[in-house]
């Protein structure tokens, strides 16, 4: 785990920040399970993805990837096998798309977040297609695309407000 840490950040601080971020992912995931009960089937806001995008921005890619895997493991433990697989596939797709956009383009926060959200949904649909063995699931694609856009706009705005704070904690001198 120490091999993932950026230079100039002490090991203790890195472990502490990563622990904090993982705790935030887990907590947001649970809050979201409650929130999504009020939304139409299958829709989620993707609050936990804010943390992963913030890690891409303020720590580095391997650390963010580790958070994606930990998040899927948490979902696997709390919501079962198929939810865990869906989370991992969605998370992996979203991670690749957001990481590429942040590193290679000057796209705005909201666009990156929207495209990341759509990629997350696409990854989940593909995983669901494999588990189910039928393409019927793609009938959900348009409605999920619309909700992904709404969710992406929200997470993009929150991300912009939040990630400098994580960066500050990471580098702060005591």
């Amino acid at each position: 785990m120490i091999g993932l840490k950026p230079e100039k950040v002490s090991a203790a601080r890195y472990v502490a920040v990563m622990g904090m971020l993982f705790a935030a992912t887990a907590a947001l995931n649970l809050i979201e399970s409650i929130l999504s009960a009020a939304l139409p089937a299958g829709m989620r806001v993707g609050l936990a993805n804010i943390v992963i995008m913030a890690a891409i921005l303020s720590i580095n890619l391997p650390s963010a990837a580790l958070l994606v895997i930990l998040k899927a493991a948490f979902v696997f433990l709390t919501r079962g096998f198929s939810a865990g697989v869906l989370s991992l596939c969605g998370g992996a797709f979203a991670f690749v798309v957001t990481a590429l956009l942040f590193r290679k383009t000057n796209s705005t926060y909201i666009l990156i977040s929207v495209l990341g959200s759509i990629a997350h949904t696409l990854g989940q649909l593909l995983a669901a297609r494999v588990i189910l063995g039928t393409g019927a699931i793609f009938a959900y694609a348009p409605i999920l695309a619309v909700s992904s856009i709404a969710a992406g706009v929200c997470t993009g705005i929150v991300l912009k407000a939040v990630f400098p704070q994580i960066e500050r904690v990471l580098k702060k001198k005591i």
Binding site: P6, P40, G42, N106, Y109, I110, L111, E167
Partner: protein, 133 residues
């Protein structure tokens, strides 16, 4: 120090700009088009219930009633007012139940944990209420 370089780049990144707004609006238009085109489809005549890729049963939407199948333990499929819904499910998150009732061709209810998929097909010629496969 790589993280600082990233931070500098991110200072110039905007929350939103004109170009990206246009891109997002275009995506919304495409998604909404895909969303509303199936709504124009005819009301289907029967529901096909699949386990994985195999059809388990075909249920006519004309006759109200509850249906259960040995393939899907704990699941109850209910037909009412020409639409079908999942009213009971053993899965964890009940996404299938929250999908509500479907009645138009192209609409679908899916339960990933139970590997169940309900799709609507156009009217079959037969007068049977349920065809088990």
């Amino acid at each position: 120090m790589k993280t600082v370089v990233t931070a500098m780049e991110n200072k110039e990144r905007k929350v939103i700009n004109k170009r990206d707004t246009i891109i997002i609006v275009l995506i919304i238009i495409i998604a909404l088009a895909c969303l509303f085109i199936p709504k124009l489809a005819d009301r289907g005549g029967c529901a096909v219930i699949k386990c994985g890729d195999e059809a388990v049963a075909e249920i006519s939407l004309d006759k109200d009633g509850d249906y259960t199948f040995p393939e899907f333990e704990g699941m109850i499929f209910t037909v009412a007012d020409g639409a079908i819904s999942v009213t009971e499910s053993s899965c964890g998150d009940h996404t299938c139940m929250r999908t509500g009732a479907i009645s138009r061709s192209g609409e679908v209810i899916v339960c990933v944990p139970n590997k169940a998929a309900v799709t609507i097909e156009s009217k079959e010629q037969s007068d049977l209420d349920v065809v088990l496969k």
